[in-house]
Amino acid sequence: MNDMTTATESEAAPQRDFSGRNPGSALSQRPVGREFQYEAQSGQGLSPLAAGAGMVILGLGIAQLLAPRQVARSTGVHVHPAVMRASGAMSIASAVNIFNRGKPAPLGLARLAGVALEATMLARSFGQASSQRRLSRLALATAAVAAAGTLDMSAAVKQSARQKMGERTTESGATVVEKCITVNKSPEECYRFWRGFDRFPEFMKHLESVEKISDTRSHWKAKAPIGSSVEWDADITADQPGELLAWHSVEDAQVDNGGTVRFEPAPGGRGTIVRVEMQYSPPGGKAGALISKLFGENPAQQMDDDLRRFKQLIETGEITTTEGQTSGPRSPVVKLIKKGVPG
């Protein structure tokens, strides 16, 4: 009980020191545990959507606060100026909350209260309104509040989403996709499989071929929509046998992209954890559109599937599939949706 009060009373209070506890115990021989964190933080920037929502809500709030009567007249919402000002104050608070990326959290409640108040004001005014003109103004105001509310909600949802492995965008605008899988082979065997590069197209669906030019340079060819293809050369940029392999497209390549794969021994000697990170910078123009299609509509899912195929290939020697198997008559809808999808 005491601990909780201290913690909430002041965030600046020094942390309780746990370091000297349990001296000489078996546990004290172990290193201190650490909190799990993704190597790169995602979702930290303010999205354009959130920024837009924030600006709209801020503008509305200022107008309500400074000119409550004018706002009342132009929207058809006839309430006491004090109520209008209160609503404005809440709108401003919620805009601040958006710009601060959801912090401090209590301001988030102001967002909720603000929406509730606006809805009440609108409903009351609709009840009183008799003229056609006022009704249409109210309808417009309702639409505006609904739009701002929707923007606000989607921004809030985005902000409160917890971090996940998968896809993120770097500050320079490159897209990074990361995934991992545990494979029942040694790190050395996994490394050798990747080091050749030529087997990538067997499990990476978007690739057509990877050919070795020299020991460190390879030529890549990827499938692109409408039967065309994109090609580039890539160099090995890091090579630690059994541990790590990285590559990146050469400087004048049509497509700026690269990848890193790490091989970690899994706990208890149970195979290898293979961690893959691939980046690509969407270039402008046609190549840009092509390359974003290359990595699929859901790059994280595609990489997941790619890694599963890699695991199947290295463990079983083949890729598990039901593609091409027999079946009874399918419904036309299923045929359309699942075109080319196994099973």
């Binding site: 463990e315 020697g317 091409g324 198997q325 027999t326 079946s327 399918r330 419904s331």
Partner: protein, 389 residues
């Protein structure tokens, strides 16, 4: 070839479909000689397992003769008579090496779909929805068997189909259910459901040393089979209160282990039964877990509840308080059939088990749609249907 295809809930038909072919090096194609309808096929038939599609070929209990082999299968030859386990397993991954074949990491091509539903994906299964791979099943004239160098077991010519067919699923499933109970000499085991898996669970419990086995059902012919064939004591749950009866039989303590061989479509009685039916119909829960709730409440303190019955999604009103406060253990899983094939075939060969005793109906494949209806509605005292293509 002719195959039994799913067209929708309560709508299965015999269709003419293309013959299966070898797709991967480790595939084989079998000419089916015998196949059976499993109780779990009824969940598909009734439409309670998601991700079924019109045109899916059903059937995961089958055996046959090898007619085609991929280049990677060297332990079988054309003409071999084999029984095929219902879970597909690669034999190379961590779980296969641990003999947990129904958890194979490589055999489900729709693993990402299963991950969304269940967190992680289990193995692929023949003819059992797209969540477990969407593989074409064996209620057909021919079937493609992936990883054929791992699953199928050769059977001696002297043993007729009916003696070995159930090695594919229900015999090992009943056996694993009993094995999961950690039976010690003198133990009392209660089994909910006297269908095929329940019958084999009863018999296996005796084989593993149980002193008394009590079977629970409501169909007179199944209760009679449990008494006369599997040698259990029986309780008709429509006539007596199961919890009270089990307390009376065990002197108040409860059975040492309880087996739920019913699964997601239990026929509940009274108010709770109606409650589950309504919630399931409204898609607010996917299961009617009446047998499981009862098994958890009935089991003795510190006992084991083993679930061979199939569940698909989410259930509610699970007596977790009883489970926690009374130190119960819950063990379950799709059967790791591959692990049990050899030892159970040995027992069949020695005559310790005769799996054919549960068969009540032998029909041609063409009559499968009628057989599904009959089996589901328990008409004509139907317990187990074997189909001949």
């Amino acid at each position: 070839m002719r195959a039994l295809c799913w067209h929708g809930a309560k709508d299965v038909r015999i269709d003419n479909v293309p013959d299966p072919k070898i797709i991967n090096p480790r595939d084989a194609v079998l000419k089916i000689t015998s196949t059976a309808i499993c109780g779990s096929d009824l969940h598909l038939y009734d439409g309670y397992i998601p991700t079924m599609e019109k045109g899916d070929i059903l059937g995961h209990e089958f055996m046959g003769e090898v007619v085609e082999l991929g280049s990677g299968v060297t332990n079988l030859k054309i003409g071999d008579r084999v029984v095929v386990p219902f879970p597909i397993a690669c034999g190379n991954c961590y779980f296969c090496e641990e003999q947990q074949h129904s958890l194979c990491e490589n055999s489900n091509p729709n693993a990402s779909m299963a991950e969304k539903m269940w967190g992680h994906s289990p193995a692929g299964i023949f003819g059992y929805s797209h969540l477990t791979g969407g593989y074409a099943g064996g209620q057909a004239e021919y079937v493609r068997v992936p990883y054929a160098d791992v699953g199928p077991i050769k059977v001696p010519d002297g043993l007729e189909d009916e003696k070995v067919l159930f090695l594919s699923d229900i015999l090992p499933t009943g056996y694993m259910a009993a094995e999961n109970c950690d039976i010690k000499p003198g133990h009392v085991v209660a089994v909910w459901g006297c269908g095929p898996v329940g019958q084999f669970a009863i018999q296996s419990a005796y084989l593993l040393g149980a002193e008394r086995v009590i079977a629970i059902d409501r169909f007179p012919e199944r209760l009679r089979m449990a008494r006369e064939v599997s040698r259990a004591e029986t309780i008709n749950y429509e006539e007596v209160d199961v919890l009270d009866a089990l307390k009376t039989i065990t002197g108040g303590r409860g059975p040492d282990a309880c087996i739920d061989a019913v699964g997601m479509e239990a026929h509940g009685v009274g108010l709770v039964g109606a409650y589950d039916r309504v919630k399931q119909a409204m898609m607010m829960e996917t299961e009617r877990p009446n047998a499981l709730r009862e098994a958890l409440m009935a089991c003795r303190n510190g006992g084991v509840v083993s679930i061979p019955g199939v569940y698909g999604g989410f259930l509610d009103k699970m007596p977790i308080g009883s489970f926690m406060n009374r130190s119960l253990t819950l063990k379950t899983g799709q059967t790791h059939v591959q692990r049990y094939l050899k030892p159970l075939l040995d027992r069949v060969q020695k005559g310790e088990i005769d799996p054919s005793v549960i068969i009540t109906h032998r029909l041609p494949l063409d009559e499968a749609p009628d057989a599904y209806r009959m089996f589901r509605d328990k008409q004509d005292e139907c317990v187990k249907v074997v189909l001949k293509p």
